[in-house]
């Protein structure tokens, strides 16, 4: 089966830790957001500094890490929020 392609977004502290603001990631069908984060961190090169269980949004909605991903999803890793 074709893997899923996920569009990954990183903001603020996480962007600085990763040295990137956008990444394309391939994960197996049936993968959850948690698995995508795990694969991302396994790439190394600074990405291992991202937390294992960050706050995430899937397609611009806060979502639990257990959310299953679909092909083309936008997965954002969000540092603790600090608006205002």
């Amino acid at each position: 089966m074709e893997p899923l392609r996920v569009h990954l977004l990183l903001f603020a502290l996480y962007r600085d830790l990763a040295g990137a603001s956008e990444l394309e990631l391939e994960v197996p069908r049936g993968a959850t957001a948690a698995l995508a984060v795990e694969r991302l961190r396994a790439r190394g090169g600074g990405l291992e500094r991202l937390p294992a269980a960050p706050l995430v949004a899937v397609n611009r909605e806060f979502a639990p890490l257990s959310t299953p991903l679909r092909d083309g999803d936008e997965l954002a890793l969000l540092p603790p929020l600090a608006g205002g």
Binding site: L9, F11, A12, L13, R15, D16, L55, A57, R60, E61, F62, A63, P64, A76, L78, P79, P80, L81, A82, G83, G84
Partner: protein, 146 residues
């Protein structure tokens, strides 16, 4: 009801224009500013970063919920992003209501919701030394699971 995110300086008078229908006896405006120090350390400015597309939707949701509670459209809220200097306004919220208790309560709720749910981050720039991203909040599981 108006909610928007901007890179330009916020004009309080423009935010007030969005509220204040003739049935209202009270308007409350909240302004958040960049302070000149934090935890005793002199601050030069603040960089606001946002997940723009999501932040616009969340801010709209927050304003819409406030408008539903008011029963009118008399809510206006704007958040600024980009580089701000000390004293500049980062967020402005205006709420009008027939009675003042409700105007105060709902204005306060909107700023608390923004701090709780808006995907915005700030990097504090100091008079001396490297900048630092400020710690923030993680929405409760209910909020995260919505």
């Amino acid at each position: 009801m108006r909610a928007w995110i901007t890179r330009d300086p916020i004009e309080p008078s423009r935010v007030l224009e969005g509220v204040g229908g003739a049935g209202n006896g009270a308007t409350v405006l909240f302004l958040g500013h960049v302070r000149d120090r934090n935890a005793g350390r002199p601050v030069a400015g603040m960089l606001y970063d946002a997940y723009l597309e999501m932040a616009e939707r969340v801010l709209d949701d927050i304003a819409a919920a406030a408008a539903r509670r008011l029963g009118t459209d008399d809510v206006a809220v704007v958040h600024r992003i980009g580089e701000l200097t000390v004293g500049e306004v980062s967020v402005a919220i205006a709420v009008s209501s027939p009675h003042r208790a409700e105007a105060f309560a709902i204005c306060r709720e909107v700023i608390e919701e923004i701090k709780e749910r808006l995907p915005v981050w700030k990097e504090e720039h100091y008079v001396e030394g490297p900048p630092a991203w400020l710690g923030g909040r993680t929405p409760a599981p209910e909020g995260a699971g919505e």
